[in-house]
């Protein structure tokens, strides 16, 4: 047991920080995370390019990549846009589909052997996506309702008694313009970081128990946990991509139609 307690868990810096590979020391340093992000862009772009080329040649029955792309688009249209924005939101389908697939693929790197690092476990990508969403829903709100109308619909929810209106207005203002992008980014980031740490914990434990001593008897326990958690993390990767996309849809839909 003493052997177990002396287990040296790597410091967190070693788990999420990677050495620069190109342009070391400059602001444009390229490390594993950046390369994985580029890989995510290429995979998603390549998938839809290949699917689009197949669809153009007149394949009525979708197979292979075309099937993946078509069911993804169908899912985003039916389960995300129609549920939250209604029919008028269908114009946002390309943006939301791209976002869903990009987040899903970059999350999925967490469980792919040899890569095993979710890009979203670094704050840079989630905060960038959240800022993009922030600009989009504010611009959509201003475009649909005008500056004054949009501000009014944000700070004055209908049906609030006059007495507490100043308080509600302040809370609504802060929650819409400050907390929303922050919580959107932190939700994705913290989920992926927590998942990564969880997998590392059980992997380190399994590696430490892989000895010739008697301790190897309990090796199956952390190892089975590791396998189960890998499955669970695949679920989390999909779920977080879904939640990020659906919240984006809700925010854009809310900016398009104020509550009555």
């Amino acid at each position: 047991m003493i052997n177990l307690l002396a287990l040296d868990f790597p410091p967190i810096g070693h788990l999420v920080e990677w050495e620069g590979l190109l342009f070391k020391g400059t602001a444009f340093e390229v490390n594993k995370v950046v390369i994985l992000m580029w890989a995510g862009v290429l995979i998603v772009g390549g998938l839809f390019w290949a699917a689009g080329r197949k669809a153009k040649t007149g394949n009525l029955v979708p197979v292979g990549v075309q099937h993946i792309a078509e069911s993804g688009i169908e899912f985003v249209r039916k389960d995300i846009i129609l549920q939250t924005m209604g029919k008028e939101g269908l114009g946002w389908a390309p943006f939301l589909t791209t976002m869903f697939f990009f987040i899903f693929v970059t999350n999925l790197f967490e469980v792919i052997p040899g890569i095993q690092f979710p890009v979203n476990a670094r704050m840079a990508l989630p905060i960038f996506l959240a800022v993009v969403v922030w600009f989009i829903y504010n611009i959509v709100g201003i475009k649909h309702q005008g500056v004054g109308g949009y501000l009014k619909s944000v700070v004055m929810p209908p049906g609030v008694p006059k007495g507490i209106l100043p308080l509600v207005a302040l809370i609504e203002f802060i929650s819409t313009f400050v907390v929303r992008p922050f919580s959107l980014a932190v939700r994705l980031f913290a989920n992926m970081l927590a998942g990564h740490l969880l997998l590392v914990t059980f992997a380190v434990l399994s590696a430490a128990l892989f000895t010739k001593t008697l301790l190897a008897v309990i090796l199956p326990l952390p190892f089975i946990m590791l396998i189960l958690l890998t499955g669970f993390e695949i679920l989390v990767a999909g779920l977080q991509a879904f939640i990020f996309t659906i919240l984006t849809a809700v925010y854009i839909g809310g900016a398009m139609h104020p509550e009555h």
Binding site: I12, D79, I246
Partner: protein
């Protein structure tokens, strides 16, 4: 007790205290969202059992509710990481 505390170096003391704070802080931050997610999912199941044809809509709303409730626990987790490692 105080004698022992006085002997420890201030650095170690700070480290220990921030570790205690991180642990208790995350534990406390997980209580509310845990109860909240339980309520959200429980009511969603009741709704789905009563009206299976509305299951799709209920599921979407349930995930939204979970996402909002869960945010607090995740902020607690981030605070834990910051206190423990930063």
């Amino acid at each position: 007790m105080l004698d022992i505390l006085a002997q420890t170096a201030p650095d170690e003391m700070l480290k220990g205290l921030s570790a205690i704070g991180a642990g208790i802080g995350y534990g406390a931050a997980a209580i509310g969202p845990g109860i909240g997610i339980g309520i959200v999912v429980g009511n969603a199941i009741t709704a789905m059992a009563r009206q299976p044809e509305a299951a799709g809509m209920v599921r979407t709303t349930m995930f939204l509710g979970i996402a909002f409730t869960e945010a607090l626990a995740l902020i607690g987790f981030v605070v834990f990481i910051l206190l423990k490692f930063a």
